[in-house]
Symmetry: C2
Subunit: 346 residues, 2 copies
Amino acid sequence: MVSRRAPTMRDVALRAGVSTATVSNVLGNRKAVDPELAKRVLEVAAELDYQIDRAASQLRTGRAAVVAIVVPSLDNPFFTGFIAAIERAVQGEGYDIIVSSSNSDEVQERARISAMLSWRPAGLIVVPCSDAFPARSLTDVSGVPVVAVDRIAGVGGISSVSVNNRAAARLAAEHLLGLGHARILVCASSLLLANIRERCDGVRAALAEAGLPAPAIVEVGLTFDIVPAILSPHLISPDRRATGIIALTNTATLGVLSAARDLGLVVPRDLSLVGFDDYAWMIASTPPITAVRQPLDGLGTAAWELLKQRIASPAGEPQRLIFSCQLEVRRSTRSIGPSLAAGPSA
Amino acid sequence: MVSRRAPTMRDVALRAGVSTATVSNVLGNRKAVDPELAKRVLEVAAELDYQIDRAASQLRTGRAAVVAIVVPSLDNPFFTGFIAAIERAVQGEGYDIIVSSSNSDEVQERARISAMLSWRPAGLIVVPCSDAFPARSLTDVSGVPVVAVDRIAGVGGISSVSVNNRAAARLAAEHLLGLGHARILVCASSLLLANIRERCDGVRAALAEAGLPAPAIVEVGLTFDIVPAILSPHLISPDRRATGIIALTNTATLGVLSAARDLGLVVPRDLSLVGFDDYAWMIASTPPITAVRQPLDGLGTAAWELLKQRIASPAGEPQRLIFSCQLEVRRSTRSIGPSLAAGPSA
DNA sequence: GCCGTCTCAAAAATCGATTTACGCGAAGAC
DNA sequence: GTCTTCGCGTAAATCGATTTTTGAGACGGC
């Protein structure tokens, strides 16, 4: 509790017998300084445990060494995994992150982004909670570089990172078709989200190519606990129920598992399941869950790279990066007959 | 891309025909201002989309409306859930959070805390990555209020929040004893952590009271994937292997599940399992996992409350808050004989 | 009617790091 | 030998919000 005030650059300068400008130049590697003086400055700085005051530094330079991140939820491992990836990427480049959750609400999203912008961060990485991304106007005015991630349908004109949702869902569908599944149910979180709609399209396209009718699509919401109630009616009739389910998000995947168990259905005996996102529990689960893995680390790294580009040249052309997903085949899917997949025609 | 510079308080003042001091007083609710003027100021501020520059504000006042959070990992849902809880708590009080991961490394922890402190945050909430918490010295000097969470063995003299680990583990042990399990294996992450040692003690105490020998304790590390290899030797012999396992962290729980499945052991038929922490996947899992639930939301809220206390009166007595955990009985544990629990003697 | 008091806004000082403008001395050019 | 760079360091101005100080006007008391 030795609450003497933190040392300032002035303290360091005085003690080293130089001016504050010199200290600033040494510490910021800005202008050539006599090595002798530089050494003394560094020594004194270390001795006093001197830390640059970020507020003062930022006020003068106008930019903060901080990246603001806004995601729909901090309780969803997809988003926190993404944040972790960004944190790893900005580490060592001297940036810190401030994070905030929009609670999947456009009004809150706007408010949170507005608050973040008052830090005048070097950049903003946002996973919009809807396709509309109405906060767009805010970022335009502020001139802070922005990268949108994952839900990027409505965000023309800014850099973005996402996955190829159609291809990813197609991967899942073709896997089930290859195992002979014809009756496929898609368990979607919310069709208001463009990425979810794209995944539905991917499944639809794969089925159409195989000469099958469009899949049933059930909307189960963003939280896990209500899924069983919504899903049960679709799973009760043994004759007409789907043999394969594609769950389009991690919470949907949990919901399907839980609903199936409640109804006494065994995966994969009674029901084959392909999930989305890839977590430790999917591997530890019995059976391990076949899932489409989104390259979380790649997304995070790429978001930071694109943001750096925008920081370096704000006038440059915005870029869109699209990652592919991989299917991790495990044991929650099983073959029930000859392949229905539309094979290569060659 | 209308990159005109953001409006300053001076712009607002000029346009409203008042001084910057008046604008500051209106916006900060600081001193009585003529309602007429106040109204005009607010109108102009709204019109210009004016946002206070936090750097300038902070430089002048010396304190930032920001809470720094340092946790061992952002990939562990326990810590991110905790962060989510804090974010909810500080929301609406005008604070933002900056978060950082120490990667379970003391050196990095110190570096990250040092970096956080250069923001001169209103407070720091830290989950130390070891009992030693050597970064303690930093926070002492800076005078920034600190609250330590979860791993608080070595941190006397500062406020802290934790759970009653002994009691929590005892809950798990008594549950298994009540179901007739005598051979109990404890699956611990790392015995270098005091909270883990306390949990071991809790199990030991419960067994001792029931007149049973001390449990076997296996150290499985902090990540999930190596657990099966470490655990297998303890699970192969059907005669001598434990009938009940207590996994002391969420990753250990995943590891046990995965190891059991690899060995063809069915939970709970061959093995009863009590996990730690409580997540959606434990409910969705087949069988649903019996687990000791740590009150994540309570921990987060409490950490913020204690921090607020320290901010308000830095000289006050540090407080330690200890929460209780609850056992969520699900289906991963089963009875194998008469209760062995030391019942109430009355 | 004069003076003291009180209210509230304007003016000015301040926070600490950065950066511009300037000055001094040494090195190089003719 | 004088004049011009050039290198490097210092003093001072600056960023924008807050806070202290100053001052103008209103009001009340005697």
